[in-house]
């Protein structure tokens, strides 16, 4: 399974997670884990997703997320999980 980490940051409002989840559902991307915090009106969210069934490349995914991000006023990025594991685990 190829795991991808999606991070989102921006001003909190109704429907951010719903919009992002809809995008994943439409693209055959399964959400494995979701964590978020909100503070002073801002949202930080991280999702771990399974992109095995996704048809496009990582670049396509990031372009799609950029479009979703512009709809909900957030910056959303997707990166391979491996880089986080490398940096934060020995």
């Amino acid at each position: 399974m190829s795991k991808t980490i999606v991070t989102l940051v921006g001003k909190d409002r109704v429907g951010i997670i719903a919009t992002v989840c809809n995008f994943f559902a439409e693209n055959n991307i399964n959400i494995l884990d979701l964590k978020q915090t909100t503070s002073r009106g801002y949202i930080n969210m991280m999702m771990i997703v399974d992109t095995d069934e996704y048809k496009g490349s990582m670049q396509d995914l990031n372009l799609g997320l950029e479009e979703v991000g512009s709809k909900v006023g957030c910056i959303i990025k997707a990166q391979h999980e491996e880089i986080f594991e490398m940096m934060h685990r020995i």
Binding site: T7, M46, I83, M86
Partner: protein, 454 residues
Amino acid sequence: MVELDEAFETVNMVSHENLDVRTITMGISLLDCIDSDLDVLCEKIHRKITESARDLVRVGDEIGSEYGVPVINKRISVTPIALIGGAACKSPQDFVRIAQTLDASAKEVGVNFIGGYSALVQKGMTPADRMLIESIPEALAKTERVCSSIGLGSTKTGINMDAVRLMGDIILMTAEATKEDDSLGCAKLVVFCNPPDDNPFMAGAFHGVTEADRVINVGVSGPGVVKHELEKIRGADFEVLCETIKRTAFKVTRVGQLFAKEASKRLGVPFGIVDLSLAPTPAVGDSIADIIHEMGMEYAGAPGTTAALAILNDQVKKGGVMASSYVGGLSGAFIPVTEDRSMAEAAEVGALTLEKLEAMTCVCSVGLDMIAIPGSTPATTIAGIIADEMAIGMVNQKTTAVRLIPVIGKDVGDFAQFGGLLGEAKIMPVNKFGCADFVNRGGRIPAPIHSFKN
């Protein structure tokens, strides 16, 4: 499982603290291209480079996009050209033809620099070495992406003072040949003591003869990340300071290790080393001088700077060594002046002098780097500065280098601009007292006593 704060730490390093992979450099051996016919040689060199590095830029960009950390430079290093051209070249102009072939090959595969227009003359010069050195001013003026490096000394061999003296002239001639662009040619020319065979950073990268046919070396970066972490521990003692740098260097180097392994796999080229260097750029916040400032100096160059740099260099290595299976190259902190906005500023206000920089090179990973000096500086003085720096490297068993830019037509306080990552700075003053009688003696300086370990 990755935690929320860890994920955002990584994301912020890229978006706010200039974390990047500075270079993926493919080393390519040209030993199998050697031919006594110059046309055949150039054709073989062109074919070997373009076939080996055809996918380098695409793969570098792909990895950057997938992992979300940009790969700033994709580069090539080749076997020192003095060895490759010796059989075919009858004059310095013949060597210029090879430089032009390297330049054309680099442009074709899309890399921004190609290193290895080099000669290793630590102990003596062959006729080919001398011709290559004499061709440097024309070669660097007629090419755009070729970088040249000359090994002038080592702990094992001593210092070749004939070559040191010759390079004083060659640096000035290179400056003169590129004077329309603030003597930019000298930014692509570096001289070394103890040059490493696997350095991925320009201008000093070359593919040593001890290396495999092809190899992938990666240079990491991250001064902005270190500075940001140090902002969080202002006033803490040295134990905390050192631990913080070490931890940060570990994380930065892990990115380099991951990228090196991935590039190696996708290109089908063996992984060589990760170079653990903190390499600054002229971008705001991507500065070694800012780290020194954050450690407690009003400006880089103030008393305490050498100690601070020694700590930084050592902790970067201690953190980095654990993060990578093979480390090499220059590994440490770079202290270029024009390429580091805050270093240039420290020089401008008078906090940082050439002499202080020389002291700093005793404890950092390289040497006097990217320093603009008056174009009227005599060749003998440049040779004297080189000799000092080579002696520091020789005696301390470390790599040292000199990349000075005598800017023709400009004097102390004038502004020199090199563009892009090479940056800009005011011209620094040079000691006015002469050393001609010393550097004109000729011959070589013997190896120091502690080099005899057999």
